[in-house]
C-alpha cells in the first residue's frame, strides 16, 4: 500500500486503535483499515504490536469466513504499513440501525446472528469484542461481523460466554426495543448451530459473568 492511497482516501471512521478509509480495489469499493502509531509505546514495541494485530485480524476474518460466518473478504494485506483492505459492506452499523427495524425482521436477524456466532464458536474462534458497534446490517438485512482484532482461538465456555454477554449487554445499554424476543431468537440460532449441550454450558457461564458484574458496558 503506498501512502498516496491513504492520502487520497476518504476518512470514514476514527477508532481507538485504527482509522478506516474508503478505498477502491479495481472497480470495487473497499475499506482500508490502518492501525495508527501510539506515541505512548516504545517505537519497536508499537510497530511489532500493530504488525501482529494487522496480520491476526486479516487471518481471523478469513478463518471466520471459512466457518460460514459473514465477514468482509480481505482483498489486500500490507503488514509493513500496518494496514489491510477489505470489501465494503454496504449497510449500516447495527448500533444505528436496530431501533428502527421492524420487530419481525429484527428477530430474524438475531436468529441468523445466533447461528453465525454458533458456527464461529464451533470452529474454535471467539470474537472477543462482539457488540452492536462491530456488526454491520447489510441492505438485505443480513448481519456481518467485523473488527476481529481481538479474536482468538478458544474452545473455553468462558471465552464464548464473553461474546454472548458483551453482545447482550451492548444491546441492553444502548437500545430501547423489546429485547426478550430477540434474545430468544439469538439463543435459538446459537443452540441450533453449536448443539444443545455446549450451548447450555455457554449460557450458564454467561449468566455467571453477568452476576460477577464484569464487562459492564456503556455504549
Amino acid at each position: 500500500m503506498d501512502t498516496n492511497q491513504v492520502a487520497n482516501s476518504l476518512l470514514m471512521h476514527r477508532g481507538a486503535e485504527a482509522d478506516l478509509y474508503l478505498s477502491k480495489v479495481g472497480p470495487w469499493k473497499a475499506v482500508l483499515k490502518k492501525r495508527v502509531e501510539k506515541k505512548y509505546r516504545q517505537k519497536d514495541l508499537d510497530a511489532w504490536i500493530r504488525r501482529e494485530r494487522t496480520l491476526k485480524e486479516a487471518s481471523m476474518l478469513g478463518e471466520a469466513r471459512k466457518a460460514g460466518v459473514r465477514t468482509p473478504s480481505v482483498l489486500k494485506l500490507d503488514p509493513e504499513e500496518f494496514s489491510f483492505t477489505m470489501a465494503l459492506i454496504p449497510g449500516k452499523l447495527a448500533r444505528d440501525n436496530l431501533d428502527t427495524m421492524k420487530p419481525r425482521a429484527r428477530e430474524g436477524l438475531f436468529e441468523d446472528l445466533g447461528h453465525q456466532v454458533g458456527q464461529l464458536h464451533h470452529r474454535g474462534i471467539v470474537h472477543g469484542d462482539l457488540t452492536t458497534s462491530n456488526l454491520i446490517i447489510s441492505e438485505e438485512n443480513i448481519a456481518y461481523m467485523i473488527d476481529f482484532g481481538l479474536a482468538n482461538y478458544s474452545l473455553e465456555a468462558e471465552d464464548r460466554a464473553v461474546d454472548l454477554h458483551l453482545l447482550k449487554r451492548s444491546i441492553v445499554t444502548s437500545h430501547n426495543f423489546g429485547t426478550e424476543k430477540c434474545f430468544k431468537a439469538l439463543s435459538k440460532g446459537y443452540t441450533a448451530s453449536l448443539g444443545e449441550r455446549e450451548a447450555v454450558s455457554v449460557y450458564k457461564k454467561a449468566s455467571e459473568i453477568a452476576r460477577r458484574g464484569r464487562y459492564f458496558a456503556i455504549r
Binding site: 477508532g15 481507538a16 486503535e17 501510539k38 506515541k39 505512548y40 509505546r41 516504545q42 519497536d44 514495541l45 504490536i49 472477543g128 469484542d129 481481538l150 482468538n152 464473553v162 458484574g213 464484569r214 464487562y215 459492564f216 458496558a217 456503556i218 455504549r219
Partner: protein, 332 residues
C-alpha cells in the same frame, strides 16, 4: 467546629493512623512500614506482629497535634479489606476498642476505594475513569449507580505483584518499584516479552516468568527492567485507552502505589491527551498505603451514613472493589 475522623490503615505492610477533618484538611498522617528481609515477601503473621507492636505509638502520634491538647476524633474508620487477614485484624481490633471506649461511630473502609477517594481529593475530578494500580489491585473502573464498576482488570497477578515479585527474584530490596524504575532508565535494549491484552483486561504472569528467565540467561538488569516497564505499562495503557473511548469519560485518574512510577504516569498522560481528557495522578506522598486514605474515605462514608456496629465489624480479606457501596461519587 469541624468533624474529625481517625483513620487506621492495616491491610498489608503499612500500619498508619491519620486525623483529617471533613473538608479534607490533614491534621496528621503517621505511618510505619514492615520491611521483609531482601528476597522475601510479606509474611502475614510477622507483618501483623509489627502492626501490633507499633499501633499504640502510631495512634498516639496521630492524635497528638502540635499546639493543641490531645484531640478526640468524632468517628473511627478502619481498613476492613481487602488485605492480609492477620494484618486487617490488628487494625480492626484497635479501631473497635477505640470506638467502644470513646462511644464513637465505627466506619468500615474499602482500601481500594480509599486510594481512589484520596486521589479524587487532589484532582478536583467529578466522574473519572479510574485506574487503580497497587499490590492488591490492577483495575480500570467507572462509577455507575453507587458503585465502582470494573471495566477492565488483571486476569492473574497485579501490576504491583509483577514489580515486587520480579524485584524479589532478582535480589532487589522490597518494595521493588523505585529500584526497578531507576534501573529501567539505564536500559536501552527492548527484550521480547509476552504482551497480553484481552479486551479491556491484561495478564502479567507470563511477563513475570519471561523476565526472570531473561535475567538468568544473562541479559542485563537494566535492560530487563526497561523491558518489563515498557511492555507491562503499555498493556495497561492500551486497555485504559479502549476503556476511555468506550466510556466517553473526560477525566482520567491514576491511583495506588504504582502510580508513583514516572514512566507509567507519562504513558497514561499521553493516552489522556490523545483523547482530550484531563489527567491526574495521585501525589507521591499520597499514592502509597497510608492512614490518610482511610481517614478521608471514612469521612465520605460517614457523611453518606455508612457505619457498622463493633460486634458486626468483620474484616473482609477478599473484598472486591465493585462490591463496596460508594454513594458519594460522582461528586456534585
Amino acid at each position: 467546629m469541624s468533624l474529625l475522623c481517625l483513620g487506621i490503615e492495616s491491610t498489608a505492610h503499612t500500619f498508619g493512623a491519620s486525623l483529617v477533618d471533613d473538608h479534607g484538611h490533614v491534621l496528621s498522617d503517621v505511618n510505619d512500614k514492615y520491611r521483609p528481609p531482601i528476597g522475601q515477601g510479606i509474611h502475614p503473621r510477622k507483618a501483623a506482629q509489627h502492626h501490633a507492636d507499633v499501633a499504640a505509638n502510631i495512634i498516639g502520634q496521630a492524635l497528638a497535634i502540635k499546639n493543641s491538647g490531645p484531640l478526640l476524633p468524632d468517628t473511627i474508620a478502619f481498613s476492613a479489606g481487602p488485605g492480609l487477614g492477620p494484618c486487617l485484624r490488628v487494625g480492626a481490633t484497635v479501631a473497635r476498642a477505640l470506638a467502644l471506649y470513646y462511644h464513637k461511630p465505627l466506619v468500615p473502609v474499602h482500601h481500594g476505594v480509599a486510594h481512589l477517594d484520596l486521589a479524587m481529593l487532589g484532582s478536583g475530578f467529578r466522574d473519572p475513569l479510574a485506574v487503580l494500580v497497587s499490590g492488591g489491585h490492577t483495575a480500570i473502573a467507572v462509577h455507575i449507580q453507587k458503585k465502582w464498576r470494573i471495566y477492565g482488570e488483571t486476569q492473574d497477578i497485579t501490576l504491583g505483584n509483577l514489580i515486587d515479585m520480579f524485584a524479589r527474584s532478582s535480589g532487589l530490596p522490597s518494595p521493588g518499584g523505585p529500584t526497578i524504575e531507576q534501573e529501567a532508565r539505564k536500559g536501552t535494549k527492548l527484550l521480547k516479552l509476552p504482551y497480553t491484552v484481552k479486551g479491556n483486561d491484561v495478564a502479567y504472569s507470563g511477563l513475570l516468568t519471561s523476565a526472570s528467565r531473561m535475567l538468568k540467561k544473562g541479559e542485563s538488569l537494566q535492560d530487563v527492567c526497561y523491558s518489563v516497564q515498557e511492555v507491562g505499562f503499555a498493556m495497561l495503557a492500551e486497555a485504559v485507552e479502549r476503556s476511555l473511548v468506550q466510556t466517553r469519560r473526560k477525566e482520567l485518574l491514576l491511583a495506588g502505589g504504582v502510580a508513583a512510577n514516572n514512566r507509567l504516569k507519562e504513558m497514561l498522560q499521553q493516552v489522556a491527551h490523545e483523547h482530550d481528557a484531563s489527567f491526574h495522578a495521585a501525589e507521591l506522598s499520597k499514592s502509597g498505603d497510608c492512614g490518610l486514605q482511610i481517614a478521608w474515605s471514612g469521612q465520605l462514608a460517614f457523611r453518606s451514613g455508612i457505619t457498622v456496629k463493633p460486634s458486626e465489624s468483620h474484616v473482609v480479606p477478599r473484598w472486591r472493589i465493585d462490591e463496596a457501596e460508594v454513594p458519594w461519587i460522582p461528586i456534585k
